[in-house]
C-alpha cells in the first residue's frame, strides 16, 4: 500500500475533494434560496422519523399534476420538467409537464408517477421540512388540521431545483403558529 509523504499528499487531495463535494451540494441549494424565484405551494397533509437526518414534517401538495405538453412522450419513473405558473389563488400550478427542459420561464425537475387522461401525475422533489425535534410532532398535528385549508409552503426555485424556504399556516410561519397555540 501507499506509504510516506505521497500518502499524506494523496490524503490532502482526497480531503479537498470531500470538502468540495460537500460545499458544492450546499452551494446549489444556497444559490437557489438566495436568487431563486419565490412560489407559494398549497399544501395537503401527509411525522416519519429519519434517524440519520433528524425530525421532519412530511409535506404533501395540492398541485401534483399538470397537462402533458404538446408532443411530449413520458413514462412512469421518468424525469420530467413541470412548467410553473401562478393560479388565481396565488398558489403555484403546473401549466404543463414535458420531457424537454423549457427554454424560458420557471420550471421544476420532477419524476413521473403515472399518466391519466392526458394529465401527468408527478412526485415533487421537496417533501420535507426539518424542524427542532421537540416541535416536529406538534407541527405535524397542526399541519394535519390546517393543510388543505390555509397551509402553504414558500419555495424558492431556480434552474429546476426547489428549496422549501418556510412553512406558513395562514399568515404565520409554523413556528409563530405553534408559539401562539401554546
Amino acid at each position: 500500500m501507499i506509504r510516506g509523504r505521497l500518502r499524506v499528499w494523496l490524503f490532502i487531495i482526497l480531503a479537498m475533494v470531500q470538502l468540495t463535494v460537500l460545499l458544492s451540494m450546499a452551494w446549489r441549494w444556497e444559490d437557489t434560496l438566495q436568487r431563486g424565484q419565490q412560489y407559494r405551494f398549497a399544501t395537503a397533509p401527509v411525522d416519519p422519523y429519519d434517524m440519520l437526518r433528524g425530525r421532519y414534517v412530511a409535506l404533501g401538495f395540492k398541485v401534483n399534476s399538470g397537462p402533458l405538453a404538446s408532443g411530449a412522450v413520458l413514462n412512469p419513473n421518468q424525469t420530467a420538467y413541470a412548467a410553473i405558473s401562478v393560479g388565481a389563488d396565488g398558489c403555484a400550478v403546473f401549466s404543463s409537464v414535458s420531457d424537454m427542459r423549457p427554454e424560458k420561464g420557471c420550471y421544476l425537475i420532477v419524476k413521473v408517477r403515472y399518466i391519466k387522461n392526458n394529465n401527468v401525475y408527478v412526485s415533487i422533489p421537496f417533501n420535507r421540512y426539518y424542524m427542532t425535534e421537540n416541535l416536529a410532532p406538534a407541527a405535524e398535528m397542526a399541519y394535519r388540521k390546517r393543510a388543505g385549508k390555509d397551509g402553504v409552503a414558500v419555495v424558492r426555485i431556480k434552474d429546476g431545483y426547489g428549496v422549501v424556504e418556510q412553512l406558513y399556516i395562514g399568515e404565520k410561519t409554523i413556528y409563530e403558529y405553534l408559539l401562539n397555540e401554546k
Binding site: 500500500m1 501507499i2 506509504r3 510516506g4 500518502r7 499524506v8 494523496l10 490524503f11 490532502i12 482526497l14 480531503a15 475533494v17 470531500q18 470538502l19 463535494v21 460537500l22 460545499l23 451540494m25 450546499a26 441549494w29 444556497e30 434560496l33 434517524m51 440519520l52 437526518r53 433528524g54 425530525r55 421532519y56 422533489p125 421537496f126 417533501n127 420535507r128 421540512y129 426539518y130 424542524m131 427542532t132 425535534e133 416541535l135 428549496v163 422549501v164 413556528y175
Partner: protein, 447 residues
C-alpha cells in the same frame, strides 16, 4: 517437532501470523526440558527462537484495544450525528453549514496528522479513520437537513461510499473496510435492486479486494484479515441473493456460492486453528449444510414449486454457470490432496441441481426427498469418519450432531409413537457418549 506443528515452508513472519501464538509459547516452554533430556542440542534453542521470532505477549491486549477504539470512535461520531439531528433551530443556515464543514475538516486534520506521523500506533489510525468516515456521512446529512433536502437514501449512501472508499487505501484501516462493506450491503438492500444497481454493487464490492489482498500479504489469519474476510463473505453472500431474483435458481445459486467459499477456504485458508478464524470454510459449510437440511423436508418441495417459476434472465444463467465452473475447476485440481469429505461438501450444488431437475421432470417428490435425506446421511457419516480418523473430537461431534438432527427431525416428520422416538433418542444419546468416551480414551492413550 516442526512436522507435528504442521508448518508450511514460507518466511517466518508469515508463519508467525498463520500459527496460533499459544502454540509457539508452548513450544518455547518445552525447550528447556528438551535440552535437559538431550532430545535437542542446546544451540537448537536459539535457532528455533530465531525461526519463529518473539512471542507476542501483548497481541490479545492490542486486539481488545483496537476493538474498543473502533467502538469509541463510532459512538463519538454517532453521538455527534444525533446531537445534530436535534436540528438546532437557534443556529442560522450559514452557521449550520459552517458547523458541518468544520466537523469534516476537523476529522480530516486529525487523520492527516496521524498519517503525517508515520510511526503512529495502528489503533489510533483505525479510530481516526472510523471517525472520519462517520463525519463524512454526518456532514452530508446536516447539509441535507439544513436545506430540507429529499435526496433518496440510495443516493446518499452511494455518495458516502464513494467518498470514503479512498480512505481505506490511504489509511490501511481495516475498520474502514468493514464499515464500507456494511455500507455496500445497506445500499444494495435499500430500494429496488435492478438495472445498473446490480452491476454497481459488484463493482463496489470488487473495489475493496485489493485492500484485502494487501491484508493477506501481512498474514492470512491475522485478526484484521479474518475480520475483513468475514464481512466480505457475508456481503458477497447477501449480494448474490439480491442479484439472483428468481426463486427457482436462488437456492441452487446459494449452494454453488457456498461450495465456492468452502473450496476456497479448504484450499487456501486452511490451517490448524479454530474454525471461527476461517470464515470462508465456515460460511461455506454452514450454508450448504443448512440448504441440504432444508431440502430434506417434503413440505419445502410442495411449497417451493407451488410458486410460478419466473423467467430466468441471461445474466443469472451466466452468473451461476461461472460459479459452477470455478467450483468444479478448484475441486478437481485439489481433489487428491484434500480427500473425500472435501468432495462430498463441494458436490452440494450438484445434488441440489439434481433435485430441482428431477422435480421439473415430474418425478414424485418423495423420491427427491429420499435422495436428499440419503445425501445428508452420507455427509454426516463422512464427517464422523473424518473425525475418528484424525482423532478430532470437534469434527466427530459435529458429524454426530448433523446425524442426530437429521434423525430427530425425521421422527417429528413421520408418525412414530412416543415409545419408538424415546428409544431412538436414547440410542443416539448413548452413541454420542460412547463416541466421545472412545475418542477421549484414545487421546489419553496417545499421550
Amino acid at each position: 517437532m516442526l512436522e507435528v506443528l504442521d508448518i508450511e515452508s514460507e518466511d517466518s513472519n508469515v508463519r508467525r501470523e498463520d500459527m496460533d501464538n499459544k502454540a509457539v509459547k508452548w513450544l518455547y516452554g518445552q525447550l528447556p526440558e528438551l535440552v535437559e533430556k538431550g532430545i535437542i542440542p542446546p544451540n537448537s534453542v536459539e535457532l528455533i527462537q530465531n525461526y519463529y521470532g518473539p512471542v507476542e505477549e501483548k497481541g490479545r491486549h492490542r486486539t481488545v484495544l483496537m476493538i474498543f477504539s473502533f467502538i469509541g470512535a463510532a459512538m463519538l461520531g454517532l453521538g455527534i450525528i444525533l446531537l445534530l439531528a436535534h436540528n438546532w433551530y437557534q443556529l442560522s443556515r450559514l452557521m449550520r453549514l459552517g458547523l458541518s464543514v468544520g466537523m469534516l475538516a476537523g476529522a480530516q486534520v486529525l487523520m492527516g496528522y496521524i498519517l503525517w506521523r508515520e510511526k503512529t500506533n495502528l489503533i489510533w489510525t483505525e479510530a481516526a479513520a472510523t471517525f472520519l468516515i462517520i463525519m463524512v456521512g454526518a456532514s452530508m446529512a446536516l447539509v441535507g437537513q439544513t436545506y430540507h433536502l429529499t435526496d433518496n437514501f440510495s443516493t446518499f449512501m452511494l455518495t458516502w461510499l464513494i467518498m470514503f472508499l479512498p480512505v481505506i487505501y490511504l489509511t490501511n484501516a481495516s475498520a474502514a473496510a468493514v464499515l464500507y462493506l456494511a455500507g455496500v450491503v445497506i445500499w444494495s438492500s435499500a430500494g429496488y435492486y435492478d438495472g445498473s444497481k446490480q452491476y454497481i454493487a459488484w463493482l463496489l464490492l470488487a473495489a475493496v479486494l485489493p485492500f484485502y489482498r494487501y491484508l493477506l500479504g501481512q498474514g492470512r489469519f491475522t485478526n484484521r484479515s479474518v475480520i475483513v474476510a468475514w464481512f466480505l463473505s457475508v456481503a458477497v453472500l447477501i449480494n448474490v441473493g439480491l442479484f439472483i431474483g428468481k426463486h427457482d435458481i436462488k437456492i441452487f445459486t446459494y449452494s454453488a456460492f457456498c461450495a465456492l467459499l468452502f473450496v476456497i477456504g479448504s484450499v487456501w485458508f486452511d490451517a490448524k486453528i479454530s474454525l471461527g478464524r476461517k470464515p470462508f470454510k465456515l460460511i461455506g459449510l454452514t450454508g450448504n449444510i443448512l440448504i441440504i437440511f432444508i431440502l430434506t423436508f417434503k413440505d419445502f418441495w410442495r411449497w417451493y414449486f407451488k410458486r410460478s417459476p419466473g423467467d430466468i434472465s441471461s445474466h443469472e444463467y451466466i452468473f451461476v454457470f461461472v460459479l459452477l465452473v470455478l467450483v468444479i475447476a478448484i475441486v478437481l485440481r485439489y481433489l487428491k490432496e484434500k480427500g473425500i469429505t472435501y468432495l462430498m461438501f463441494s458436490a452440494v450444488p450438484l445434488i441440489v441441481g439434481m433435485g430441482f431437475m428431477l422435480q421439473r421432470s415430474a418425478i414424485e417428490s418423495s423420491y427427491i426427498v429420499m435422495l436428499l435425506n440419503l445425501y445428508m446421511l452420507v455427509l454426516s457419516v463422512s464427517v464422523i469418519n473424518k473425525g475418528v480418523k484424525e482423532g478430532r473430537l470437534g469434527i466427530l461431534n459435529a458429524g454426530m450432531f448433523m446425524l442426530a438432527l437429521l434423525v430427530m427431525v425425521r421422527f417429528f416428520d413421520v408418525g412414530f409413537s412416543f415409545v419408538v422416538r424415546g428409544f431412538i433418542f436414547i440410542i443416539i444419546g448413548l452413541c454420542f457418549l460412547a463416541a466421545n468416551w472412545v475418542m477421549f480414551r484414545r487421546k489419553r492413550g496417545g499421550c
